[in-house]
């Protein structure tokens, strides 16, 4: 291999691709050719670095210079300055919000400082479409170690001792799950390994990032699971909404087959393992394990009653072990570095790290991996860089439609499985959406119920009918038609649904409502009793008015109004006809004097 004096890493995750990363790759190569240094400088499209907010992100090594929001037009100058003249292009180096820190190297960024990467260790580091790069970073060494030096029981005991728990939601101990599938008897000897990559929680994209950035880690881990439980075939069930991830995983599977790391006689042992990708078709309930299995079988993705559990009777009626992508991504490191090392990270009952997708009203949107036990405050303020536009933090939502909203008073809670349950939320797959004072918590509860109601498969009445009734109550509260007793009715329905729904989707659907009632009851009361939306979101409870004192009569608002609801004479205060007003906010955004308010 020719010596490369410099590597340019460009994030090729979905976020950065959406912001034009692939055009940058082409432009870079063109410029390098122009300066005749293409053979000295390597351009690598990697997986996600995590800082999606700043994309497209470009990092130049060996210095580790971190460039953000790079555009095609910047490339000529970037190559000329940094790679020809050897001085970093200062204007593209990121300045951190808040303290104005202007780090020259990616390692000095506040966003990365407190992170600890196990599952995401290779994301943003290697070229995911090149198996040699994975192997160069100790890839497939864990599989080799397992096949050549360990028994299936050794592997299961190691995973058990690590304390690894399922990263997809419930937090079930992974080693125990493997033990059950290992112990299960299959009449014809057939067992399956499956991977849940149907990452349906809105706002969570860590599984996609592993698939896009480090697909071989998943393949290696699933082969290890196959060895541990005695399965020769694995299925990865991926959302069809993730085309880049599907494509890279397929490339990785093909490369692994070519290298003999999938197929017959792996590492010259008699262990055989094969993997197949199955695509989802847009049904959130398929993230539930038994529904997912029905879907792989080509059926409607409705959950099955349990028992029998999938470990005994899963895919095609055979013993099946199912884990999600992030859970698998931890496995190679556990095998190579040992259970003790893994268990030294995290809290007493939640070991290791957790990846969170930080989104919503936060400065550093993106993907981060932190040791279990990190507080929400550290995530939001130290890593996330706080709330934009000087607004106040109101709540953090974890666990997606199954989780809850955590208020400011609980910001110092150390995040782990059990603490989150105790405060009425849950880990879920790791979406963490931050909300500020402008978000209405009743509206947020309505948003999630609308989601679960729409995604309810309809098989069991508590979920099908119960969530519908809850949604109707929430809708009338947001429309200003809430009546006394609605909060209590919501609580009563919630308790019933949680106790009686067939699967996890229904059992957790009331959580967003219960947690917002628990911490933001006053907002519900304001909607019901005073017919006011304190956050100014629920349209039916708002009136738009122009302050005649500050209105200069410029008429911009009237021009912008799509409903012709604003009238007036130039240079005199304008007025809004509330009967015509559709409360679209266009006037507030247009007014140069801040004269329009809603309350």
């Amino acid at each position: 291999m020719a010596y490369k004096r410099s590597q340019i890493l460009i994030c090729g995750g979905t976020g950065c691709c959406s912001s034009g990363a692939m055009t940058l790759v082409k432009e870079l190569k063109k410029e390098l050719v122009k300066h005749d240094i293409l053979d000295e400088v390597e351009v690598v499209a990697t997986g996600c670095f995590g800082l999606c907010e700043l994309g497209p992100v470009v990092i130049v090594y060996p210095e580790g210079t971190f460039y953000s929001r790079v555009e095609a037009a910047d490339i000529t100058e970037l190559v000329e300055e940094h790679l020809v003249k050897g001085r970093p292009l200062d204007r593209l180096i990121y300045t951190e919000k808040g303290d104005g820190h202007h780090p020259l190297s990616i390692n000095d960024l506040g966003f990365f400082k407190t992170q600890k990467r196990i599952a995401l260790v290779n994301c943003g580091v290697i070229d995911p479409e090149n198996i040699d790069e994975y192997i160069a970073f100790d890839g497939y060494m864990a599989l080799e170690k397992v096949l050549l030096t360990m028994t299936p029981i050794d592997v299961i005991n190691e995973v058990k001792a690590s304390g690894l728990r399922g990263r997809g939601g419930g937090g079930f101990p992974t080693g125990l799950k493997w033990q059950f599938a290992h112990d299960a008897v299959s009449e014809d000897g057939v067992k399956y390994v499956a991977c849940n990559a149907d990452e349906g929680d809105p706002g969570a994209f860590m599984d996609r990032s592993v698939l896009e950035g480090d697909p071989h880690a998943l393949i290696e881990a699933m082969a290890i699971a196959g060895f541990a439980v005695g399965a020769a075939k694995g299925y990865v069930y991926v959302r069809a909404e993730y085309p880049i991830a599907v494509n890279r995983l397929q490339i990785a599977i093909d490369q692994a087959k070519e290298y003999g790391l999938l197929g017959e006689n792996i590492f010259d042992t008699d262990f055989a393992f094969d993997l197949e990708i199955r695509l989802g078709a847009g049904a959130f309930v398929c993230g539930e394990e038994t529904a997912l299995m029905n879907s792989i079988e080509g059926k409607r993705g409705e959950p099955r009653p349990r028992p029998p559990f999938p470990a005994n009777k899963g895919l095609f009626g055979k013993p099946t072990v199912l884990n999600n992508v992030e859970t698998y991504a931890n496995i190679p490191a556990i095998i190579l570095k040992g259970a003790e090392w893994f268990a030294s990270v995290g809290t007493e009952k939640s070991k290791g790290t957790k990846v969170f997708a930080l989104g919503g009203k936060i400065n550093n949107t993106g993907l981060l991996e932190i040791p279990m036990g990190t507080t929400l405050r550290e995530i939001v303020y130290d890593i996330g860089g706080g709330i934009p536009n000087g607004k106040a933090f109101k709540a953090a939502q974890t666990g997606g439609p199954s989780g809850g909203c955590i208020p400011a008073s609980l910001l110092d809670t150390p995040i782990d499985y059990d603490n989150l349950i105790a405060i009425g939320s849950m880990m879920g797959s790791g979406g963490l959406i931050v909300m500020d004072e402008d978000n209405c918590m009743v509206d947020v509860a309505r948003f999630f119920l609308d989601f679960t109601q729409d995604e309810s498969c309809g098989k069991c009445p508590p979920c099908r009918i119960g969530t519908k009734r809850m949604l109707e109550i929430l809708e009338r509260i947001c429309d200003g038609k809430g009546v006394k007793g609605d909060i209590e009715r919501l609580e009563e329905l919630a308790v019933g649904i949680k106790a009686s729904a067939l699967c996890g989707l229904g059992q957790t659907a009331p959580n967003p409502v219960l947690s917002t009632i628990r911490y933001f009851r006053d907002e519900y009361e304001a909607h019901i009793n005073d017919k006011k939306c304190p956050a100014g979101v629920c349209k039916h409870l708002l009136d738009f008015t122009i302050d005649p004192e500050t209105c200069k009569g410029c008429g911009i608002c009237a021009k912008k109004c799509p409903a012709d609801a604003i009238t007036g004479e130039k240079k005199k205060p304008y007025t809004i006809d509330t009967a015509k007003c559709i409360k679209c906010n266009a006037c507030i955004e247009a007014c140069p004097f801040g004269s329009i308010s809603k309350a």
């Binding site: 959406s18 800082l51 199955r278 079988e297 955004e589």
Partner: protein, 156 residues
């Protein structure tokens, strides 16, 4: 984008079934590929798939109607999807939907009469860092403000 195959031409769907019929649990893949080729899954195609697989039409219809990505009616040439994931929602996806609908005279789920546009609210596409986001076919537009919408629609 490749030209869509007219529904009258049943050879393609039969070939798709023939290719997959031996794979366990193949119905989803067959429906996915058929929709890719024909653009949607009218009853004629579902019936052909059922006949070829030797299963009742109700079973095929049951699967086709269960999953939101299977369309039983044709979609527009340009499919606008406004992401309604949580991150996009808290950053103002609803006003974006309202704006798109007011320009095109549509409701969510509609296809315009000329068949040019269809508008859907999609599940999280995972581009939360760019919220709020909309897609037009494969193109992704992020960090949207209301004033961007008209310009995006004009491009097509």
């Amino acid at each position: 984008m490749a030209e869509l195959i007219p529904v009258e031409n049943l050879d393609v769907v039969k070939a798709i079934v023939a290719e997959h019929r031996e794979v366990p649990g193949c119905l989803m893949q067959i429906l996915q590929e058929t929709q890719e080729k024909y653009g949607y899954l009218p009853l004629e195609l579902q019936g052909t798939i059922a006949d070829e697989l030797g299963m009742p039409l109700t079973e095929v219809y049951g699967v086709a109607t269960f999953y939101s990505q299977f369309n039983l009616t044709p979609k527009g040439k340009f499919k606008i999807g406004i992401c309604l994931g949580t991150a996009c929602y808290v950053r103002g996806a609803q006003p974006i939907i309202d704006k798109v609908n007011s320009i095109l005279g549509t409701q969510v789920g509609d296809t315009t009469e000329d068949g040019k546009w269809s508008v859907d609210a999609t599940r999280c596409i995972g581009a939360c860092g760019l919220a709020p986001v909309l897609t037009v076919n494969e193109d992704v537009y992020g960090r949207l403000v209301l004033d961007d919408i008209a310009g995006i629609i004009e491009k097509y």
